[in-house]
């Protein structure tokens, strides 16, 4: 079918706002999340964690714990093998420390017992002998010669010789002649930026229920963004066959990228295998902060040259990211995204990853991009201030568009940045007056988006209803969007469709819910699966009518003869065809499997008004508007929700959220009291403007919307604060003590 790519059409259901199918369950408390499941004979597990930021594990004596009444299993790294694959080894080592504890909170042992109280008591009986080692938690410190080495011998081949062993990865992107570009500038600004590690801050702590039987079969109930990927990792770590491990994704209480990686699930499975009973393992909030999640921290130098009329002549960024105690390449994305919004003749970004004694980084909405773009958008803003130019108009002047050679290499196809900037420029927010101590910040944002492995199965029930089976946990209303697209394509009411998220034994492999891929890729597969079912239904109608299959087409939920020559038959609806499916050849279902590409990049522009209290350094967000290209908003309410949620996470990142480490290398604020995510009274309404510039790679023009929204707020907020107080803020978060200090330094 030549309908793979976008075709302009008038939508009947896509773009409406029906109730989500899981709504009633979620407002009545019936929805089952990770910690809500139980199993007969279930044990409760607890994890013993390192109190040291860096220590060699000399010995672990579990005898006393094992002897405690009620304790059924104790595991340590000795209960796991040593995977050959470096990635898998890192994943496992993060779940259970092998030779060294690499950060405060690193798991060193775990216990399963008949009660949680017994499991807790057993932890105290495990004797771990540590040889405490020097530690380093700051990226810049970790890069210095002579810094404590987190792990030796982990550098990739791209790291030049002679650097600290903590440096594991290097990348460089860009094009053009930087020197010539800077020479053309009327003014050049170079700034150093620093950002703290932050956490996704999902409200549901990681939780799972594992059950392994003596014949090697296993079940895992878990809150995850990707049950299939969890199966892959757990099966590999435990030496199980994928077919024997069925992973069921519970309802998920937030993820934002943080639940794309296993943390304790292999441990729960190992405990269950050892104990021969189901094991439930639920992390405490303290454990969530100390041992799951966080983003990279960064240290960055950004240099940009501009002519006096606002044309950017050259841009350069050096990014030093640290994603904790393991190698990672998130800086690749930051380095590619940094200047993506601009059409530049000369641009270069350099990225470094450096290990520190902190937990292993996990993805967080557009991983890597918010930081580098914060640096770039701050310097662009400062140049606008220098020349007295309008920050939105300068961005429009330099904006990447179709045909621009992007800062990361490829030439852009149709993109929505200029339209988004123009929408912001025309919006009343941009021209609203500001008061004393108030500032307005502007920032562009960018994210790649991607598609990935996707299977959808769609079954036509004999009563004329339709079931859609997909494999991606619904993290923000995707079941509603998928149902809408199926309804649109089939031409039946939304209410006739029920979409469910399958376990790993019920459907082929689906990539994790990440990369803003679900509405794009699962949507695409759903449309294709519907078309597969439609083809079959047309075939049944053709048989009933006794005409050629090709002479039947699908219009408004019914098979109809294609044109006058096909014969005169009244339309046969989906329900009518379904009712006789047994008689006409058996059940009717549609399928589609794809590794989807063509997700299409996404741009956003944010406007942020802030008032700063000059006596305390407190910042208050007064007004906030998000402009983002959604390609096509399938369920606009949930598109707005993604934009609003991303914006507020970014505001939190900019203003107050941070991992605070003490001199002892311990995380000082592993709780919601002192890891300060925004509360409702901190915020105004978050206005949204959805632009719809169709993505040529999707039948309905859909682009992913989940991640881009967190990219602009860091700089939008920082630019607003900087303009409000006349001091350029180059460190995140801009917590009041830092801001007040900057204000006093200014005098």
């Amino acid at each position: 079918m030549a309908l793979d790519s976008y075709q302009k059409r008038t939508f009947k259901q896509v773009g409406t706002r029906p109730n989500r199918p899981d709504g009633v369950d979620k407002v009545t408390g019936r929805a089952m999340y990770g910690a809500d499941a139980t199993a007969p004979g279930m044990l409760h597990a607890k994890v013993l964690r390192s109190p040291h930021a860096h220590a060699r594990i000399v010995s672990i004596d579990t005898a006393a714990a094992e002897a405690l009444p009620g304790v059924k299993a104790v595991v340590t790294a000795a209960d796991f093998g040593v995977p050959e694959d470096a990635f898998l080894r890192d994943v496992q080592d993060h779940c259970m420390a092998r030779e060294k504890a690499l950060y405060d909170g690193h798991a060193v042992a775990a216990v399963a017992a008949t009660t949680l109280a017994a499991a807790k008591a057993a932890l105290k009986l495990i004797k771990v002998q540590y040889e405490v080692l020097p530690h380093v938690t700051d990226a810049d410190e970790a890069m210095k010669p002579g810094a404590p080495v987190v792990q030796a011998g982990r550098a990739y081949e791209n790291v030049p010789a002679g650097m600290s062993e903590n440096v594991t990865h290097h990348c460089e992107f860009g094009h053009g002649d930087l020197d010539a570009g800077f020479a053309k500038a009327d003014h050049i600004i170079e700034r150093h930026f620093k950002t703290a590690a932050t956490h996704q801050g999902y409200i549901e702590p990681n939780a799972c229920l594992a059950s392994v039987t003596s014949d090697g079969k296993a079940e895992l109930w878990v809150c995850t963004q990707g049950q299939f990927f969890y199966r892959t990792l757990c099966a590999a770590i435990l030496g199980m066959e994928a077919s024997q491990l069925r992973v069921t994704a519970s309802e998920i209480g937030g993820g934002f990228g943080g639940k794309t990686m296993v943390y304790m699930e292999p441990v729960a499975l190992a405990l269950s295998r050892k104990a021969g009973r189901p094991v439930k393992l639920v992390l405490t909030r303290d454990e969530v902060f100390r041992a799951t999640g966080p983003t990279v921290s960064s240290s960055m130098d950004v240099k940009i040259g501009m002519t006096k009329d606002g044309r950017i002549t050259a841009g350069q960024a050096v990014l030093r990211y640290s994603g904790g105690a393991f190698p990672n390449t998130t800086v690749d994305m930051g380095a590619q995204a940094a200047f993506a919004a601009y059409d530049l003749d000369a641009v270069r970004t350099f990225g470094w990853n450096v290990m520190t004694n902190r937990p292993k980084e996990s993805a967080y909405r557009a991983p890597g991009a918010p930081l580098s773009i914060y640096g770039v958008e701050s310097v662009v803003d400062e140049l606008c201030q220098h020349f007295g130019l309008d920050p939105l108009k300068v961005r429009l002047l330099n904006a990447a568009t179709e045909g621009t050679k992007s800062s990361y290499g490829p030439t852009f196809p149709a993109i929505g940045l200029k339209a988004t900037l123009e929408a912001a420029l025309a919006h009343p927010h941009y021209s609203a007056p500001l008061g004393t101590n108030q500032g307005r910040g502007v920032s562009c944002g960018f994210w790649f988006n991607f598609g990935g492995n996707t299977c959808v199965s769609l079954s036509v029930n004999t009563d004329g209803t339709v079931g859609v089976t997909e494999g991606n946990p619904d993290i923000g209303g995707s079941r509603a969007s998928i149902s809408l697209m199926a309804a649109e394509e089939l031409g039946i009411p939304y209410e006739k469709i029920r979409t469910i998220v399958a376990d790993t034994s019920s459907l082929g492999y689906n990539d994790v819910t990440d990369g803003s891929r679900v509405t794009f890729a699962v949507g695409l597969a759903t449309i294709k699966a519907a078309r597969d079912a439609i083809r079959k239904m047309c075939s049944r109608a053709a048989k009933i009518w006794g005409i050629d299959e090709e002479a039947v087409e699908w219009v408004d939920g019914a098979a109809v003869p294609a044109g006058p020559n096909a014969g005169k038959f009244p339309p046969m609806t989906l329900a009518e065809i379904a009712a006789v499916s047994a008689e006409t050849g058996g059940p009717i279902s549609g399928h589609y499997e794809v590794n989807a590409d063509g997700a299409g990049v996404s741009f956003g522009v944010h406007l942020c008004d802030i008032e700063v209290d000059p006596e305390t350094g407190a910042s208050k967000v007064l007004r906030y508007t998000v402009f983002q290209d959604a390609g096509k908003a399938v369920h606009p309410s949930y598109v707005e929700g993604q934009m609003q949620g991303g914006a507020v996470q970014g505001i939190g990142w900019a203003l107050n959220e941070e991992y605070i480490y003490g001199a002892d290398g311990k995380l000082q604020n592993p709780g919601f009291l002192d890891y300060r995510i925004p509360v409702s009274s901190d915020l105004p309404m978050i206005d949204t403007v959805i632009l719809e510039i169709p993505n040529p790679g999707h039948p309905y023009g859909v682009r992913g919307v989940g991640e881009t929204g967190i990219v602009p707020p860091l700089a939008a907020t920082a630019n607003a604060v900087s303009r409000a107080v006349g001091v350029r803020m180059t460190e995140l978060p801009m917590s009041p003590p830092k801001l007040l200090k900057a204000l006093e330094a200014k005098g």
Binding site: T284, T616, L655, D674, V679, D682, P736
Partner: protein, 287 residues
């Protein structure tokens, strides 16, 4: 761990005094349960005082009010009489935690938890409130400021419990206010705070004042010089600046995850002068 809901103050005192291990009093529980959860304390005995008659009462007394030790923030905030007489005490107490925490938290608990940053305490000190303490040797009254001994420590003897807090009567043109600095708008622990209680003279000048600062020393500080600065004035900008400076001058804070020494020192003064202004306006509005 043993849980006992004491039926009388004597029973509670006897249990606590006679217990050899670690014992804790449970009023609102909003600190105790957090400490239990984290394993910070592992008491053998928890004595719930909420079922003791009178503990949840707010009683007029000598022109002021006696607040039972188990009165929650939500309950106090709904009491029109206390809100009118001591608005600063109520607003300090009501700033603790969320609406949910307000459903449980008590002033006496906030006092006895002895955090230097407790939001209920500065206003109580500024109000010259008196705690009534019941112990093995009977009852005694004690100024609020004498109860905290340092972070997490009180001057209460073994077996002693606070049973009520007395807020005294006020002259006609008097009021109080409390402000704290937190990075967010809610849900944080005070980084620096100030409670100010004022009485106005007939001419509208401050006749007497008490200023107390929180989170800038191991215990709440009574800022006597700052109070002297504002007495006799109508809180013009210059006076307020001097008052703020006098507050900052006595701060002895620490640098920790919530704030630096410099930040706390500066902000305590800012909070104090702003609270003074609010208290002054409130007092002036009374005729």
């Amino acid at each position: 761990m043993q849980y006992v809901a004491a039926k009388t103050a004597d029973e509670a005192v006897a249990l606590l005094a006679g217990h050899s291990g670690m014992a804790r009093v449970l009023a609102g529980g909003t600190d105790l349960l957090v400490q239990l959860k984290s394993g910070m304390v592992e008491p053998d005995l928890v004595v719930d005082i909420k079922r003791i008659p009178g503990m949840k009462d707010i009683t007029p007394e000598a022109g002021g009010f006696r607040i039972g030790a188990a009165v929650s923030g939500a309950e106090l905030g709904e009491h029109a009489g206390v809100c009118a007489l001591w608005p600063g005490v109520v607003e300090g107490f009501n700033l603790i935690g969320s609406t949910q925490v307000q459903g449980r938290a008590t002033m006496a608990g906030n006092l006895c938890n002895a955090s230097p940053a407790g939001d209920a305490v500065p206003s109580l000190v500024a109000a010259d409130a008196i705690a009534r303490i019941h112990g093995p040797n009977g009852s005694r009254d004690c100024p609020i400021g004498d109860i905290p001994a340092g972070p997490g420590r009180t001057t209460l003897a073994k077996g002693e419990i606070v049973t009520s807090i007395f807020l005294p009567a006020r002259p006609a043109r008097a009021s109080d206010a409390y402000l704290r600095f937190i990075p967010r708008t809610e849900m944080d622990i005070a980084v620096a705070s100030a409670g100010v209680s004022l009485v106005l003279a007939a001419d509208g000048a401050v006749a007497s004042a008490r200023v107390a600062l929180g989170a800038v020393a191991p215990t709440v500080l009574l800022a006597e010089e700052a109070a002297r600065v504002i007495v006799g004035t109508k809180l013009d900008d210059d006076t307020l600046a001097r008052m703020a400076a006098a507050c900052s001058a006595i701060c002895k804070p620490i640098t920790d995850k919530r704030g630096t020494i410099e930040f706390r020192t500066k902000t305590a003064g800012v909070m104090a002068k702003r609270a003074a202004r609010i208290a002054y306006d409130r007092a002036g509005a009374k005729t």
